[in-house]
């Protein structure tokens, strides 16, 4: 079984990350709340084919008071072979175990998954992501951004009143990076407005508490 588990993970993730326990302490101790940014996490060939496959999916404009961006439908229902394989990897016992060991949390063996696209003027204002059962919010970045171009995922610390006060950590999207954080009443975060004619593409969603 161990061989199979390693095999599934090895297919998708960089060998550097195959021992999740190594990163648990860092995850739990990170401020303003538990998060990790694992650079070069996804194997490059997988990320390239995933990006190509995602470009075949339809993105829908989403706009409300809090956000403006584009999103695919639930990728768990896609017919695309490459994306299906990735979804199977994400839902696999091996990857769920990996995430459980890394975070110390217990998850259901199903996650939400969708593609997101931010273009010039798109943004997501500050919020906490709290919704029943959500435990980890995750993002696989499939494009590179530079900080000055916007699109950073900003994690905000809370003031004494419990409200978000300032940015403590900026995660600038980098190809193949996996970023995730614990969803809690203080997991205030935002996606900075993209201010150039470039595309910020990612696959993301949530893992749910068991």
């Amino acid at each position: 079984m161990l061989f199979i588990a390693k095999y599934v993970l090895k297919e998708f993730i960089d060998p550097e990350y195959l021992q999740p326990e190594k990163f648990k302490k860092e995850f739990l101790n990170n401020k303003p709340f538990p998060y990790l940014e694992l650079k070069c996490f996804l194997k490059e060939n997988r990320a390239i084919e995933l990006l190509k496959a995602l470009s075949q999916e339809k993105f829908f404009n989403k706009e409300a008071d809090l956000f403006k961006f584009s999103q695919t439908n639930d990728l768990g229902k896609t017919q695309n072979k490459v994306i299906k394989e990735f979804v199977q990897f994400l839902y696999s016992k091996e990857f769920i175990d990996f995430m459980q060991k890394l975070t110390g949390f217990k998850f259901k063996n199903k996650a939400d998954i969708a593609g997101t696209l931010y273009q010039n003027t798109d943004y997501l204002l500050c919020h906490d992501d709290e919704l029943e059962g959500r435990k980890i919010a995750y993002l696989f970045y499939l494009t590179n951004m530079e900080e000055k171009k916007g699109g950073s995922l900003n994690l905000l610390e809370s003031g004494v009143d419990g409200n978000p006060s300032g940015i403590l950590k900026k995660i600038v999207p980098k190809f193949c990076t996996l970023a995730f954080f614990e969803v809690s009443p203080i997991s205030f975060h935002e996606v900075e407005e993209v201010i150039v004619d470039e595309q910020r593409i990612a696959i993301g969603g949530w893992f749910y508490s068991l």
Binding site: D65, N120, N163, E193
Partner: protein, 179 residues
């Protein structure tokens, strides 16, 4: 102060305002005769920046428009005596917004908006948008020297759309009074 055309058509305006039973509203163009003079006053307002990342980021000031003609005009249109004409002046610049927030729920009422925004690209955001809570939104056009009157029925809330980088150094300014 008020474009004379409107002073002679009060009944028509009242009728137009109430035509939409679900979302009573009206926008009157070229409303002020002395727009430039009032604009100078608005520009000189002592704005204070307010930031609460869970609800809003914007600049505000107060401006009293104690003009009998204006109060009488509003009273006739709305069928109610308007005595307080101290408006909140809003200034929205890049990155400013006001979102819907459960902690700041507005009671039903009437919004009176005087728009002092010049040279605004609507792609920049900053519009006042009314939401009825069921997903139906009404976006008020940004129009220099317009008076907009909106009746907020139960459940209708408003937000100011995020101002994006296309605004550049531009600013969106309007006066708002809720009665």
């Amino acid at each position: 102060m008020i474009n004379k055309t409107y002073l002679t058509k009060i009944e028509e305006i009242k009728k137009a305002f109430h035509t939409n039973k679900y979302f009573p509203s009206i926008q009157l163009h070229n409303f002020l005769i002395n727009f430039e003079e009032l604009k100078k006053k608005v520009d000189k307002s002592k704005f204070e920046k307010e930031t609460n990342l869970l609800s809003h980021r914007l600049s505000k000031a107060e401006l009293k428009l104690d003009i009998l003609e204006f109060r009488e005009f509003l009273s006739k249109i709305l069928n109610k005596k308007i005595t307080n004409t101290t408006f909140t002046v809003y200034k929205l610049e890049w990155k400013d917004f006001k979102i819907l927030n459960d902690d700041c729920v507005e009671k039903p009422g009437i919004d009176i908006i005087l728009d002092f925004t010049e040279n605004w690209n609507t792609e920049s955001g900053g519009q006042i948008i009314y939401s009825d809570g069921s997903g139906e939104n009404y976006t008020m056009p940004v129009l220099k020297n317009s008076l907009t009157i909106v009746e907020r029925k139960k459940g209708v809330q408003k937000f100011f759309k995020y101002v994006n980088n296309l605004a550049g150094n531009g600013k969106r300014q309007f006066l708002l009074l809720s009665v």
